[in-house]
């Protein structure tokens, strides 16, 4: 337990070897994780709590932390030693609670860079509880922390003080144990200033975001053409073909391998569980997931995102949120589920509702973005402009939708949207192994989450095709797709699948034997993003917003998709 962004999650994963995500900004942990630690012969349960500044909660994540505290037998109070004074406030409150405490003075290495000297032995003497300097990211001090857990104790000296008294006590403690040397303006300070001042910060932000997306695309395409395509063509195809020959034509063959196109397997069009069901997540989506999470993890670990939130606050405040909303947007580009969870850090219901609704409406996840790329490169189209221009158009439309719906919601949703209040961490050089480990964890989550769903999706679609339900749906929905959006009736199956997973929906689209107008694809990609998030995100929305607000959110999604769809039809197709 400790203040936000002091490295609790890193210490937690060091203690338990459990995998949790940690980043260099406040509010990465919004829920708790538990793990087990073995000390000598016994196992103990360890819980990683969201950060809190004091025992008075101001948002949902902090309430979670307090609930954990109530059940704790022992607290490891993680403290940022570079800002010891304000961290000690929580420490004091914890001591007053009378629960045994051990203090980890984390970021110990940083104090040296900043010219801060702390006498940890003296601090231990004054507080009367074990104090252990740690550098969680490298693992330094963790062993000694574990070995001293048994010495955890409380200090009866500190009892029911008011706030003023607490600060007085802290002031006297800090003056005894800490000295700060004067330090010259470093290069890091110059960078820190340049990235947060509007004149230099805004152009830098645009450059950083542009370069990030460009690198994601570069890595993604590189992985596909140099690793995954050769793998699927040279190694996987012979295996799949052999399997196809082994199976007699019939329902089983259709489920596992799918339809043969021109006598052979087509990974995008065959629609079998072991062909398209494997190729879409691994051959098409995974490369972009790898690329995106690598860049996101880098951005997170440096500490850039809170600065971006500061720069973006102006715009986001007009949309009824505050700057922190942009962090949810970034996470949503990876996966809307983690984006929706991250809205917990916002203070009011209004902010959470707007933030979650907007991301569900206008932010396509990386799985979908990857398939949008595939859509314009794989289909035979009569393109007037290069494919990237159409993809850019989709993003532009979604941006306009995000801003317009936000402006409207800010006006009509009741409630307050308090101002931004965000700590700006020091820049830190990302620790390579930690960043890689985090990227890897997120990739595993994707694989665990995506592959079963896609298998299930392919299975379901095949069954529904076989029994004729799909045809019936296409027939029923035809007036909407054709009449309202100007799209071929068969695309209704694409939207239906979009309820389940967006990448599979686009995968199905690729298998349709239709020649599309490129602008129709732009409309499909846009509507597919807006009308419904995937089933997994929807479940999270219900959990976070409650049934009533989720229904409101859903109505907004449907209404927006109709308005946008009709508008696009008129503008882009001219019919």
């Amino acid at each position: 337990m400790g203040n936000p962004n002091v490295g609790k999650s890193v210490i937690f994963s060091r203690l338990t070897s459990a995998n949790v995500i940690a980043s260099n900004y406040p509010g990465t942990t919004v829920d708790f994780s538990t793990g087990k630690i073995r000390i000598e012969e016994d196992f103990y349960e360890v819980t990683d709590a969201p950060g809190i500044y004091s025992l008075e909660p101001t948002n949902k994540a902090e309430e979670v932390a307090l609930k954990i505290l109530e059940k704790a037998d022992l607290i490891i109070n993680v403290v940022d030693s570079t800002i010891l004074e304000r961290n000690l406030y929580l420490t004091l409150e914890l001591l007053e609670k009378g629960i045994p405490v051990v203090i980890a003075l984390n970021l110990w290495d940083e104090t040296k860079h900043l010219g801060i000297n702390i006498d940890e032995k003296e601090l231990e003497k004054i507080l009367g509880v074990p104090v252990v300097p740690t550098v969680a990211i490298t693992g330094e001090g963790i062993k000694s922390l574990v070995s001293r857990l048994s010495e955890a104790t409380t200090n009866k000296k500190y009892k029911s003080k008011n706030e003023r008294e607490r600060w007085a006590i802290i002031g006297s403690i800090v003056s005894k144990i800490q000295t700060v040397e004067h330090r010259h303006h470093t290069f890091r300070d110059t960078v820190a200033d340049a990235t947060i001042k509007p004149m230099t910060g805004v152009p830098l932000a645009i450059v950083i975001i542009f370069i990030s997306f460009w690198i994601v695309r570069l890595i993604g395409e590189g992985l596909i053409s140099y690793i995954l395509d050769p793998f699927f063509e040279n190694i996987y195809r012979p295996f799949a073909t052999a399997l196809s020959d082994l199976l007699d034509p019939g329902i089983l063959h259709d489920l596992i391998i799918g339809r043969l196109i021109d006598g052979g397997i087509d990974f995008t069009q065959s629609l079998g569980m072991l062909t398209t069901g494997v190729y879409v997540p691994i051959g098409q989506v995974l490369p972009y997931i790898v690329a995106f999470y690598f860049i996101l993890s880098l951005l997170e670990d440096t500490g850039y995102l809170p600065r971006l939130a500061t720069l973006a606050d102006n715009v986001f405040h007009k949309l009824g949120m505050h700057g922190h909303g942009i962090i949810s947007v970034f996470l949503s580009f990876g996966c809307n589920v983690s984006g929706a969870l991250s809205t917990r850090i916002l203070e009011t219901r209004k902010q959470r509702f707007i933030s979650a609704t907007l991301l569900a409406i206008a932010i396509p996840c990386m799985a979908q973005i990857a398939m949008i790329f595939a859509m314009f490169s794989k289909l035979e189209l009569d393109l007037v402009y290069p494919p990237i221009a159409y993809i850019f158009l989709v993003f532009l439309i979604l941006l306009i939708v995000y801003v317009s719906v936000g402006l409207i919601l800010n006006r009509f949703v009741k409630g307050e949207s308090p101002e931004i209040f965000l700590e700006i961490p020091h820049y830190r050089m990302p620790h390579f192994q930690t960043t890689m480990k985090k990227t890897w964890m997120r990739i595993l989550w994707f694989l665990k989450d995506a592959i079963p769903w896609l298998f299930f999706g392919v299975f379901l679609v095949n069954i529904l095709y076989a029994v004729g339900i799909i045809e019936w749906f296409s027939y029923v929905l035809q007036p909407i797709t054709e009449g309202i959006f100007g799209l071929p009736g068969e695309t209704s199956i694409v939207f239906l699948t979009g309820f389940l997973r967006k990448d599979l929906a686009v995968g199905l689209l690729l298998s349709l034997p239709i020649i599309f107008h490129p602008m129709q694809l732009v409309i499909i990609a846009t509507i597919l993003t807006i009308f419904f998030p995937c089933a997994a995100t929807f479940a999270v929305l219900i959990k976070e917003l409650g049934i009533k607000d989720t229904i409101k959110s859903l109505i907004l999604m449907v209404a927006t998709s109709f308005i946008v769809g009709i508008t696009l039809r008129v503008i882009l197709l001219g019919i």
Binding site: E56, K197, P198, P306
Partner: protein, 79 residues
């Protein structure tokens, strides 16, 4: 020596000032104080976003972004 007191929002860049009063209710101010924005502390403006956007301040060894409205309620003193 001239002592001038003014809201933090009107303090100019990079000038060091001392916080003398925080106006308004208890709620969020508790969080302000916990983060080191308290009476008696020295504070400096790092950046101001245009169009009444938020202000980033340096106080007690760390930086915090706060809204402009909040910055109007923090009264500081420049020597």
């Amino acid at each position: 020596m001239n002592i001038e007191s003014l809201p933090l929002a009107h303090l100019s860049h990079n000038k060091l000032a001392k916080i003398i009063k925080i106006e308004g209710g208890h709620g969020l101010h508790n969080k302000l104080r916990v983060l080191g924005i308290r009476e008696g502390k020295l504070i400096r403006i790092v950046s101001k976003q245009p169009l009444f956007g938020p202000i980033t301040v340096a106080v007690s060894g760390n930086q915090i972004t706060i809204g402009r409205g909040m910055a109007h309620k923090i009264i500081v003193e420049v020597k």
